[in-house]
Structures are given as C-alpha cells and as structure tokens.
C-alpha cells in the first residue's frame, strides 16, 4: 500500500488511486496523418523502465484529478509529484 502524494489532497493510500501508466504520451496532433506503425506506437507501446518512471495517477476516490508522479519501479519509492505535469502535451 503505497502512500501516493496527490498534489491536491495530500498523501493518500494507494487504493484511492487509479493507475494511468506512462506520462507524456501525447495523442497525435493529426491522427489521420500518422502511419499505421506510429499509430500502433501511440495505442500500444509504452515505456517500461526498471527504475525511475514518470507516470500518471488519478485520484479516483478523491479529487478525481490526474497528475504526474516520478516513482522508482524497483523500490516503489515515490521520487516527487508535480501537479504541473497533469497534462501530456
């Protein structure tokens, strides 16, 4: 049960959150213009690092806001949270 620092509500138990995977994956500006391969990248391919990971969390049982977090995927230690990175673009 990690303690996740919601930038709006403060630290809360992990069960209040919904995980959103890698942060910073932007929806293509013009999806119709990208190749099938690039579209597949957007749909299905995400970074999966062992170590520091910038990821998205939703405070689903709280303020319902998405926010970004850096976490070490080996220790599960939260490195920081930053409400300015709530958007992907």
């Amino acid at each position: 049960m990690m303690l996740i620092p919601c930038p709006w509500c403060g630290p809360r138990d992990e069960i209040e959150f919904h995980y959103g995977g890698q942060a910073g994956v932007a929806y293509p500006q013009d999806p119709q213009a990208v190749s099938d391969q690039d579209w597949a990248e957007f749909l299905f391919f995400r970074d999966n690092p062992r170590g520091e990971f910038a990821e998205r969390w939703l405070h689903a049982a709280g303020c319902r806001r998405w926010f970004g977090l850096r976490r070490d995927t080996v220790t599960n230690r939260v490195l920081d949270s930053d409400d300015t990175r709530t958007v992907t673009q």
């Binding site: 995980y19 995977g21 099938d36 579209w39 597949a40 391919f45 999966n48 995927t73 599960n76």
Partner: protein, 410 residues
C-alpha cells in the same frame, strides 16, 4: 491417530541434475533467461532441431523468476483459435513430458473449473466451451449442481453476493510442480551437452548493423549465431538496450500458500468475478493467486490490500477456508501485453528472437512455447502456431484479445 506423512510419498529427485559450467566464448545459439520458457526452448532446439551448441544464460539462480513463483495451473481452454492452438499443443506435450524427461513433474490432470457469476459470464463461458470443443479441446458447461459434484467445497448456494451460476470444466487441465519441471528440463539439457550458466546477467547485445551476433554479460561477452530472449518481466529492459520497444508492461503479481492441510480440494478453481484461483498442491498446501497490481513494478512484491481482497474472495467461495492460514506471500514480475496474449516471433533484428508478454499465463505454455519458439529460432520464421503472436499484430490491429479468457489469468 494414524500418522499420515504428507509429501512422504513424493518421488525422490534423481542423483544428478545439472552442472554449472563456465560460459564458452561462443555458441550457435544463446537463450537469455533460464526460466521454464528458456529451458524448454533450449530443449526443443536440441531435440527437434539438433542444435546442442547452446547456452541458457540466467542472471540469478535457475528458474528463480516467475517459474519459481507461479501457481502452476495448466489448461488450454482459451477462447480464440490462435490461443487454443498454442495452449492445446502445450497441454498435449505436458501429457507426455514426464515420460519424455524421465522426471517426476507431479503433473496432475485434476481438471479446472472456471466459474461464472453473472448472466454475461454464463454467455461468455458457453461461448468458450463451444469454441473449445470445435477446437478439439475437452470442455463442458456445468450447472451449479454439477459444479458442487466436482468440487463440493465451493459454496454454490444463492447466498453469495455473486452466486455461482455454473462453470466451464476442462478435465484434462491440472497442475504440476514448477521446480521439478525446470529441473527436469535442465537435467535433460545437461545430458545433451547444453550449457546452463547461472549468475550470468545479459546486459546488452553485440550487433553488426541490424544483425545480432552475441550478448554482453556480467561474465563477459558471448558470441552467438542466434540470440533468443525469454526474459519475461525483464524483456523491456533488455530490448531497451537495442532501442527496441516492446508493447509490454511489467506488473507485480502475487501468490500465496497456506500451511499443509488434509486433502479437501480435488481440482483447480478459477473465478474472474469473485476473484480467486486456487488449487491444493501435492503436499496439501492451498495455492492461491492474487490479482495483478495495477502499477508497473519490478519489485517482486505487491500491495497487501490485493492479498486481503483475494482472501475475501476465497472465503466467500470456499467457506471452509476461513481458518486456513496464509503462510507465505510472494510476488513475481509479469509482462502484460495490450491484448493479454504473448509475443513470440521475430524482431526487426536479424538473429534476435523474442518470447515475452505471457502475463499471468506463461507456466502452462512452457513446453508448447518452447516447441514453437525453438522452431522460430531454428527456421528463422515462426511455427504456424505462434505466427499469430507476432509483434506486427499491434500495427495491423489483428489482436488476439484474451482478456475474457485470461482475465486475472492463468
């Protein structure tokens, strides 16, 4: 009280298992990952394709990753033809594997029940049973009374929050002893002259242009004609060293055992809705799997609330488990794909092959995937059974969406 000696009737291990040689400078093929899949792949490369100048490289102790951590369920009752083909091939190999390896794998075909708890579960289950039968896989739909006959300890009353509305039943499904499987393959490989190199972590690849010619390891560089990845949860980390992206995410998956108990549970029970899967192993311990933790992690441990939820489900379905005790919990790292199906095939690099993305379902596929992956490596092209499991499917959209059948899994 007559002294019972649980587990005393278990077979003894053979006198000799495998040796631990120093790695050679070069091999015809190197397999990265000494888990079940890596070992089985090496085995079928040797047996089916005559390749024995092989090394299986394991970063820790042999079969110490997910192979040592899974709940050992074996079944082939998957929905889609592609999965059914691969898993059924695997199940058929399981059925002859003890004899072939001359090693007691404790393969026990005690059947699996996949429970349905809603009208839609029933529809999906009947659909899967029908598909299985047409694919030549033994499958039956059981009503609650029949479920109770197969496994009397399940609460099939209407009192449950989500009552059991029936189940699919695959009699040929079962369990095996994971360590024995790994050791059986390792022993056979040792006899055929294949090198099993432990404590040898692959840290990168050697390439000439787009051709892979070897690996860099913590025990020095090793050249290889072909390099095959069977690194499960760590596949992305390896592929990253080549700039190769894989559509997999690594998650914790937990499991647990109880203390040894007198036999009460005759089969394997899985439920996606009342999330539990449980069998009773040979010595008498209940083996239960928990759900996948939602976040990416390589920590080999998950969150405790996942275990608590799992126990609520177990006691809900099996009231008699109330005073069984959780003895030990543990976690593995599973690599999950967007369609809950594996990736087995070629890569954009010549001489590099990938097998990953098995999520929660890898153990049962062990011999089957070994067979097909070996074929892929030896022929530089996929076997018909693993052809649908290519990397390209994510681009074309021809996914093999097994979320329904694998759900939580296994």
């Amino acid at each position: 009280m007559a002294p019972r000696t649980p587990g005393a009737d278990l077979p003894e291990h053979p006198e000799w298992l495998w040796s631990s040689p120093e790695p050679k400078a070069s091999y015809d093929a190197v397999i990265v990952g000494g888990g079940g899949h890596g070992l089985a792949t090496a085995y079928y490369l040797a047996v089916n394709h005559g390749m024995t100048d092989i090394a299986v490289l394991e970063k820790g102790w042999l079969a110490g990753g997910n192979m040592a951590r899974n709940t050992t369920i074996i079944r082939s009752n998957y929905l889609w033809d592609e999965s059914a083909g691969l898993y059924e091939h695997s199940l058929k190999l399981w059925e002859g594997l003890e004899d072939e390896l001359d090693y007691p794998l404790l393969f026990s075909q005690r059947g699996v029940l996949n429970l349905a708890h809603s009208l839609q579960d029933v529809r999906d289950s009947v659909r899967r049973v029908n598909a299985n039968r047409l694919n030549g896989i033994d499958a039956e739909w059981l009503d609650p009374a029949q479920v109770a006959e197969v496994c009397p300890i399940i609460d099939t009353s209407e009192d449950l929050r989500y009552p059991v509305m029936g189940a699919t039943w695959q009699p040929r499904a079962g369990i095996a002893k994971h360590d024995h499987v790994a050791w059986g393959f390792a022993r056979a490989l040792d006899r055929m002259g294949v090198d099993i190199v432990q404590n040898c972590e692959v840290t990168g690849f050697e390439r000439v242009g787009d051709r892979i010619v070897g690996v860099e390891t913590t025990r020095g560089p090793i050249r290889a004609g072909k390099v095959a990845m069977a690194a499960a949860g760590h596949s992305s980390v390896l592929a990253d060293t080549l700039g190769l992206r894989l559509p997999v995410q690594s998650h914790p998956l937990q499991a647990l055992v109880s203390e040894l108990l007198e036999p009460v549970h005759p089969t394997v029970v899985m439920s996606n809705a009342v999330h539990v899967y449980v069998s009773q192993a040979h010595k008498g311990e209940l083996v239960l799997g928990a759900g996948i933790d939602a976040y990416n992690s390589y920590s080999q441990r998950g969150a405790f609330h996942t275990i608590e939820r799992q126990m609520a489900a177990a006691v809900e379905l099996f009231p008699m488990f109330a005073r069984a005790h959780v003895l030990r919990t543990w976690g593995g790292v599973v690599d999950v794909t967007p369609d809950a199906s594996a990736i087995v095939g070629l890569t954009p690099f010549e001489g590099l092959y990938v097998n990953c993305g098995w999520g929660t379902g890898g153990f049962k596929a062990t011999p089957g995937v070994g067979w097909c992956f070996a074929h892929t490596i030896a022929n530089d092209g996929p076997h018909p059974l693993n052809a649908p499991f290519s990397l390209e499917r994510f681009t074309t959209g021809a996914l093999v969406d097994e979320h329904g059948a694998s759900g939580v899994a296994h």
